[in-house]
């Protein structure tokens, strides 16, 4: 690894940003799934 230029610091920063955004997207995904379930329950209720 090129320790003189410390380019790996830049790679680490980019990796952290990518992981962070992915974790955040997963929380949004979970939120949406919960909502989908709720909507489904409500529509089956009204069909009865």
């Amino acid at each position: 690894m090129e320790s003189y230029g410390k380019i790996f610091v830049v790679v680490a920063v980019l990796a952290v940003i990518l992981v962070g955004i992915f974790i955040y997207l997963f929380t949004i995904d979970r939120k949406l799934r919960k909502l989908e379930k709720e909507i489904e329950e409500k529509t089956t209720q009204t069909e009865k």
Binding site: K6, I7, V9, V10, V13, L14, V16, L25, I28, K42
Partner: protein
């Protein structure tokens, strides 16, 4: 794929350009060497956060004018995405600091100000979460959000400049214009910042749509 989605592709294109050009572009040979390239990524987090907080501020003001719940939803989700950027900004800053200053956290007005700024907005989320009544939550939230925005400006943009000595660069130029940047870096820097901001708006947009559906379900 809809025609009005063009700006999402623009965001992706700009960020792609930022990553590729960000690694290729010549950076001046200073003490921090290649890590100078972090400017395109670490600083992008703060640009993203600032854009989100301004959006939140504007929509909180708009909410207080007509008490339209949809505007409060936008304000809340903008702050939420802003917090994501804020935390990423702190974490990436800690990595960078660890290699340049030898420690992930140094006692510096800029760093401490940024941390206080994050707590101010975390308090906004907690405040909203603690109020069950929708209208009350929106009103109290909007008032606090306007207050929080000014506090954030003071702690992140004003006080570090007044404090004098700071190890963190970016103190001598206006907040959004790094005047001392090399022209070759500028043509990467500004598109990169714009790309991060657009990405923030995209995520915010998705969150707002989910939130709207949720509030419709509760009716």
């Amino acid at each position: 794929m809809v025609k009005r989605d063009w700006w999402k592709f623009l965001s992706g294109g700009l960020l792609m350009y930022a990553i590729v050009a960000g690694f290729i572009v010549e950076v001046p040979d200073t003490m921090i060497r290649e890590t100078m390239r972090n400017l395109f990524f670490h600083v992008g987090m703060w640009f993203g956060m600032f854009a989100m907080l301004i959006t939140g501020f504007i929509f909180s003001l708009r909410y207080l004018r007509k008490f339209d719940e949809t505007e409060d939803i936008i304000a809340a989700e903008a702050v939420n995405v802003g917090l994501m950027f804020g935390f990423l900004g702190i974490f990436t800053g800690m990595i960078w600091a660890n290699f340049t200053w030898g420690s992930p956290w140094v006692k510096d007005p800029k760093l401490n100000g940024a941390a206080v700024g994050l707590f101010i907005y975390l308090a906004y989320m907690i405040l909203r979460g603690s109020i069950d009544d929708v209208h009350k939550r929106a009103k109290v939230g909007a008032v606090y959000n306007i207050f929080a925005f000014f506090l954030w400006i003071v702690f992140v943009l004003v006080l570090p400049r007044l404090a004098g000595e700071s190890i963190h660069p970016g103190k001598d130029s206006p907040p959004v214009l790094p005047m001392h940047l090399e022209p070759s870096m500028r043509i990467v820097f500004y598109p990169a910042m714009f790309g991060w901001i657009l990405l923030g708006f995209w995520i915010m947009n998705i969150r707002v749509r989910i939130h709207r559906l949720q509030s419709k379900m509760e009716l």
